[in-house]
């Protein structure tokens, strides 16, 4: 008898394998294969998703994934080959439509197939390094349809042809195009690029190359640019409608290259319509278009800028060298201002306020304004004109605007110290002749100059204003002080000028009439009484007088004349006739001034209070002068010849320039000493550079002058040459 074995219950797997009958695999595959056929034949509705999924699942589970996968490949390829044929067979215009339709179908089928085979996609595919189903479907489409011999070329040609037609004005089916290009994109960006984009760009290039050649022959610049712009817009629009967005920058750069970059020089220099003509005629729209188009291509803007610069320099140079223009300084400066305005407007309206263009404008102006060494003088004369009368009736803001514009020109000047000298002269004349239209405007100008150049520039100018004001106070004090002595005597208005603040004028004394002398002496006594240690010198070459004159028939006139003229006229109180020599002797007025005065008193129509014999225009030493009893004038008050600021005569000009040069020497020396004091040892060229940069806000020093100043400083033992290197200088403490 055997003992009872104790048995625990175990559940064991089947000891024999449940083999999937290979026939079962084949059978399962057939089911799936059939399904695929049905799907492609638009018969999917009869299929059971669940069953198919399970079948696919089982195959993979039982290690038949490979069979499934390769079966898929074969089946799908087979279908695609058929589809290819049907597409190839389609006629002409229907080609694309057929392709599009079949593509749609394929995608739908692919979707379904993938869903069915999802288990395989997720498990078998990754592990076996196979292409996932969806991608596989696209690749097969690509290889069997798109890259099939007949279809490939036909597809490309069709697409390009349609695009060409659209470019020449036809309307095409854009949404169909969209679908096709999207298809290519879906197949992979390299497919899109290789099979379409690249050839597209090449063909476009030759299209635009041809078009641009044509257009440039028959269009003027503005027209051409309009057309180019239109093409660019068109291409951008095309891309947005039916091409891949990444194609935009590529196609636009093709257009830019062919239509603009390749023809830049020709466009810009086109006769009668190129850049220069546009600038001259203020064609803002054309200029703006040119700017916007040219900025897209390399060197485009620099080309435009360079042509503008050289044109500006050329016209500027002509302007400042034209002798006709230079006859009227105010007009000359006005032209400069107008030119600046013009270009400011162009840059703001058409060139997008581009800073590099602003800089080109500034450097051009700086270049040609300084070609004419009278520019500083003329600009001062312009300001003088405005401050005398030009700004009457103009509002305060407008005054500011004009002065600011003038300051812009001032900034371009290299020789600011020359301007300072002239401004001082002109201001002095304005103040002394009482010709300032607006005190506020004068002050405003001073403030602007001070802001620009610093306080030293304007301190003397301000001194002049102070003197004017003080003189008014002094006169009040004087008359308050006078007892009733004045009565019938002449009234005196004195302006006391501090030497040093005012431009120096040599003044030869002349003999004042007794009546005047009297009151002048009274004033002198009064003034020196309140200001000891000062010296007063009458400036008889300046000043005016109002004289009451009674003529032959009793007409009374009030004559406003210069001091010299007064001296001359007063002589006729005691004589009816005087010769030139007698007048000269009596007044001691210097000959050239005397002649000018007599001319203005005797030879000018409407102002001839004197009569001259002989009646010639020039004053000769033997001429005789008579009080002109027969003088008439419509006006009671007659003004005879005030000295306005005129352009300097040659010798005066030389003198001023001489003085400016002399003034520069100490400034240069001071700069040299400053630099050497801090640097101790420097070579020659560096000194020259440093000095130039230190002084550039006032003037541009001449290197030869700098050298001479250095030698002078060596002479005076401020500097010495280095013993070993003769190009080095040392500072001697």
């Amino acid at each position: 008898m055997s003992a009872q074995k104790k048995r625990t219950f175990k559940i064991e797997a089947f000891k024999h394998r449940v083999e999937l009958d290979p026939k079962y695999a084949e059978r399962t595959w057939k089911v799936l294969e059939h399904a695929i056929h049905e799907i492609y034949n638009h018969n999917a509705s009869g299929l059971s998703f669940e069953e198919l999924y399970r079948n696919a699942y089982n195959m993979v589970l039982h290690k038949y994934g490979e069979k499934l996968y390769s079966g898929l490949v074969t089946t799908m390829s087979g279908h695609l080959k058929e589809i290819a044929k049907s597409i190839e067979d389609s006629q002409g215009g229907l080609f694309l439509e057929e392709l599009d339709r079949k593509w749609g179908d394929h995608n739908k089928a692919l979707q379904m197939i993938r869903d069915i085979l999802m288990y395989m996609d997720r498990t078998f595919v990754p592990g076996n390094h196979k292409t996932p189903v969806h991608e596989l479907g696209l690749n097969l489409w690509r290889d069997n349809i798109i890259r099939s011999g007949k279809i490939q070329t036909r597809l490309l040609d069709t697409l390009l042809d349609l695009i060409h037609r659209e470019r020449t004005g036809e309307v095409i089916n854009r949404s169909l195009m969209r679908n096709i290009t999207k298809m290519l994109m879906d197949l992979g960006s390299s497919v899109y690029q290789e099979d379409f984009e690249k050839p597209f760009l090449e063909v476009s290039a030759s299209f635009y190359s041809g078009e641009s050649q044509q257009l440039i022959e028959c269009c003027d610049c503005g027209e051409y640019l309009r057309k180019a712009e239109r093409r660019l817009t068109e291409e951008t629009e095309r891309v947005s409608h039916y091409l891949d967005v990444k194609s935009e920058v590529k196609i636009t750069s093709v257009v830019e290259g062919e239509m603009i970059a390749n023809h830049m020089q020709r466009l810009v220099h086109m006769e009668n319509s190129g850049l220069v003509n546009m600038l001259v005629d203020d064609r803002y729209e054309d200029l703006s278009r040119m700017y916007n188009l040219f900025r897209r291509v390399p060197d485009g803007l620099s080309t435009v800028r360079d042509v503008m610069t050289s044109h500006l320099r050329e016209t500027g140079k002509q302007l400042v060298s034209d002798p006709e223009r230079l006859k009227d300084p105010v007009d000359f400066v006005q032209h400069l201002l107008d030119e600046k305005d013009k270009y400011d407007k162009i840059i703001s309206k058409a060139f997008n306020n581009d800073k590099s263009f602003q800089n080109a404008l500034n450097s051009s102006f700086e270049y040609f304004i300084n070609l004419n060494n009278r520019s500083p003088e003329f600009i001062s004369l312009y300001v003088d004109d405005k401050l005398r009368k030009g700004l009457k009736g103009v509002s305060e803001e407008d005054v500011e605007v004009v002065l600011d514009k003038v300051m812009m020109l001032f900034r371009y000047l290299q020789e600011k110290d020359v301007f300072e000298k002239y401004y001082k002269q002109h201001l002095a004349k304005r103040l002394l002749s009482g010709k300032t239209a607006s005190d506020d405007a004068e002050r405003s100008m001073i403030v602007k100059l001070k802001t620009e150049c610093g306080y030293q520039f304007t301190s003397k100018l301000e001194g002049m204003f102070t003197d004017m004001k003080t003189s008014v106070d002094t006169m009040q004090g004087f008359y308050a002080n006078q007892y009733s002595e004045t009565g019938d005597g002449p009234t005196l208005a004195v302006q006391v000028l501090t030497t040093g603040s005012w431009p120096t004028q040599p003044s030869a004394p002349c003999n004042l009439p007794a009546e005047i002398l009297g009151i002048c002496d009274k004033f002198r006594t009064y003034y020196l009484g309140t200001h000891t240690g000062r010296r007063l010198t009458w400036q008889t070459n300046m000043g005016t007088a109002d004289i009451k004159a009674t003529f032959g028939k009793g007409q009374k006139h009030e004559l406003n004349v210069s001091t010299y003229q007064m001296c001359i006229l007063m002589l006729f109180n005691s004589a009816d006739q005087l010769t030139y020599r007698e007048i000269e002797q009596a007044t001691e007025i210097p000959a050239p001034d005397l002649k000018r005065c007599l001319q203005s008193l005797a030879c000018v129509k409407g102002k001839n209070v004197l009569r001259k014999e002989p009646m010639s225009k020039d004053i000769a030493e033997d001429d005789a002068f008579y009080f002109n009893d027969k003088f008439t004038s419509k006006f009671i008050k007659v003004k005879i010849g005030t000295v306005a600021a005129q352009k300097e005569s040659e010798p005066e000009k030389q003198e001023t320039r001489q003085r400016v040069e002399e003034d520069r020497k100490p400034q240069i020396e001071a700069a040299i000493v400053r630099i050497m004091k801090s640097r101790r040892v420097l070579d020659h060229n560096t000194i020259v550079t440093e000095v130039t940069s230190q002084l550039q806000s006032r003037f541009l020093p001449n290197p030869v002058v700098i050298k001479k100043r250095i030698e002078s400083l060596i002479e005076r033992e401020f500097l010495e040459r280095d013993k070993n290197d003769r190009k080095l200088y040392r500072y001697l403490a």
Partner: protein, 275 residues
């Protein structure tokens, strides 16, 4: 042969002909002994000029001068035309050798007063102004040179002439000449005097452009010459070649020299090829 006993003879025999000549020359010029001559020449590797330098710069070799003789010499030449303020007092102004004295000196030395060697003499004496020597300058200078008689002075002249051949010394003498030739109290040298000096100096050290330089100054400048211009001219003459091919416009030359270069080019005297 006992060389110790007859050292001089021994040396002479051992020297080659060329060296012997040099020794003799040396002795004639310096008045030194044969031994000293050979020593100096050996030390300078048988170069005469170097030997002179060595000989004269060795303080212990310097010949001691007799100060009494020096006084006598000085008194012989010092100024005789007097405007004496107080009898018997020493008026320092007149205690100098003036023009007459110098003429006499030159006579004694058998030398033309215009001879450039007098410039070298003045240089040694550190004379402040031409045509006068102060007591200190005269006596001090002669002491330094080891001279206390006219004969010794005469003998020294050829040595002094030879000093002009030395680059470094020529430069010192040249630069010295500026201060010496100009008027007392003036900063610059009058043009005529400068031209005279240049003619004199550049006869010693040949500079082919000196005549053009002088002409240029008379035509274009006609003013006094500054010290800097004077000294820089020598540098110019030494460094810049006659075609001006190595003249550097940025070379910080005095402006007068820049103008001279322009003058030469403008007048076709020199054809500059611009590099």
């Amino acid at each position: 042969m006992n060389c110790l006993r007859y050292p001089a003879t021994c040396f002479i025999h051992k020297l080659g002909r060329g060296h012997r000549d040099k020794v003799q020359q040396f002795m004639a010029i310096t008045g030194s002994s044969e031994k000293a001559a050979v020593q100096a020449l050996k030390a300078s590797d048988w170069h005469l000029e170097g030997a002179f330098d060595i000989f004269y710069s060795q303080p212990h070799i310097r010949t001691v001068t007799d100060s009494r003789h020096l006084e006598e010499l000085y008194n012989r030449y010092k100024g005789k035309m007097l405007v004496v303020k107080n009898e018997g007092s020493q008026d320092p102004y007149v205690d100098m050798i003036l023009v007459d004295g110098i003429t006499l000196l030159c006579n004694d030395l058998q030398v033309d007063p215009q001879d450039i060697v007098m410039l070298v003499v003045s240089w040694h004496m550190k004379a402040a102004t031409m045509c006068e020597f102060s007591r200190q300058e005269f006596i001090g200078g002669l002491q330094y040179l080891g001279i206390d008689t006219i004969e010794k002075f005469r003998d020294k002249l050829s040595y002094m002439r030879s000093e002009l051949k030395d680059e470094q010394k020529f430069r010192e003498i040249y630069n010295f000449a500026f201060g010496w030739a100009k008027e007392k109290g003036q900063k610059s040298l009058a043009l005529d005097t400068a031209i005279g000096m240049w003619q004199l100096l550049f006869a010693e050290r040949h500079w082919p452009l000196v005549d053009h330089w002088c002409q240029f100054l008379q035509v274009r400048h006609n003013k006094a010459i500054s010290r800097d211009t004077w000294s820089q001219l020598l540098e110019f003459a030494k460094t810049v070649d006659l075609q001006l091919s190595n003249y550097d416009e940025e070379g910080a030359w005095p402006y007068l020299i820049d103008e001279f270069v322009e003058y030469l080019t403008e007048n076709g005297i020199v054809q500059r090829h611009q590099n």
